[in-house]
């Protein structure tokens, strides 16, 4: 939505108001402290439950505690890629500035989540499988996800004009999104060392209550962190791309001398 379109159709759909960077910037600023606070509180609670309260696992010993980071990071790595592809595609089709900025803001945190998932996976694989790495479907497709994120970021960095950068990035984001279901279902479709999912909507969870509580707390903490980091980055992106506009120049934080 261009700012003019948002102004001409205010009565019908109020939500589109926030599609304008000028409207979204202050909204994101108001939301940020809540998401940071949620990330810290949920993270501390999750660490206390996961590392201090939860008992050891009878099969894997205490190495299983890596799950409290590995699973939330792996979920976020896939979710953020889907969100990135969604916003990039929307930006490509509707030519909206904020959608493409959202995609760009999601990518670095998504790449970090993928890296954390791979790193903790290696550190978990060594004691449980006897190897840091195997070229099986789950691990290879997750590594491909990291390269897709890095490719998106490299393309965006290489293009001079931000609009061209958005379009080039959107192609990578949309083509690469087919990889996400491959990662998710790889443990069912192929024989793999990687264990199946521990949490399932249709079955009772196959883990003790404090373990499950710690895992869910950490999942919500990672959600809050990812949202906060993305909102913070999109605010910086808005400032970078719209510094020549009247409303950015009028912002009190841009007025005050350092």
């Amino acid at each position: 939505m261009s700012p003019t379109a948002a102004i001409t159709t205010p009565a019908r759909i109020h939500w589109f108001r926030f599609a304008a960077p000028q409207q979204f910037y202050p909204l994101a600023g108001r939301l940020l402290p809540w998401f940071w606070a949620a990330a810290v509180l949920l993270g501390v609670a999750g660490l206390v439950v996961g590392l201090l309260v939860a008992p050891t696992d009878f099969q894997q010993g205490d190495s299983y505690r890596i799950i409290f980071i590995h699973v939330p990071a792996a979920w976020m790595s896939m979710l953020m890629y889907v969100a990135m592809a969604f916003w990039a595609g929307l930006g490509l089709v509707l030519n909206t500035r904020l959608s493409s900025m959202m995609a760009s803001a999601l990518a670095p945190t998504g790449a970090l989540m993928t890296f954390i998932a791979l790193w903790t996976g290696a550190l978990w694989g060594k004691p449980t499988w006897g190897t840091w790495w195997v070229w099986d479907a789950r691990l290879t497709s997750e590594l491909l996800l990291l390269f897709l994120y890095l490719g998106f970021l490299a393309l965006q960095a290489a293009a001079e004009d931000p609009r061209r950068a958005d379009r080039a990035g959107a192609i990578v984001a949309l083509v690469g999104v087919v990889n996400v279901p491959i990662i998710y279902f790889s443990v069912q479709w192929w024989n793999t060392l990687h264990q199946g999912s521990s949490i399932n909507l249709t079955r009772a969870p196959s883990m003790a209550a404090p373990m499950l509580a710690g895992l869910l707390l950490m999942v919500f903490a990672f959600w809050a962190y990812a949202i906060a980091a993305t909102l913070q980055r999109v605010r910086a992106l808005i400032l970078e791309r719209e510094k020549d506009t009247e409303w950015v120049q009028a912002l009190p934080e841009a007025r005050a001398a350092r």
Partner: protein, 65 residues
């Protein structure tokens, strides 16, 4: 309530300390690094806004559609 009997028990993680702490410490470092980068990026963006005003006077453009 607490699962561990002593601090050294906790730190050794049943012999898996290297793997468990290697995961948690790296994650903390990565996320902490991202937070610093985000703060710096905002500061730099605000500096650029101010620099733009210095270079272009006090008459900003209308946003391009």
């Amino acid at each position: 309530m607490l699962y561990w009997n002593s601090l050294s028990d906790f730190l050794s993680m049943g012999g898996y300390g290297l793997y468990v702490w290697g995961s948690f410490v790296l994650t903390a470092a990565v996320l902490g690094g991202e937070l610093l980068a985000l703060r710096q990026r905002r500061r730099r963006a605000l500096d650029d806004v101010r620099r733009w005003r210095l270079l272009n006077g006090d008459a900003p453009h209308d946003p391009s559609p």
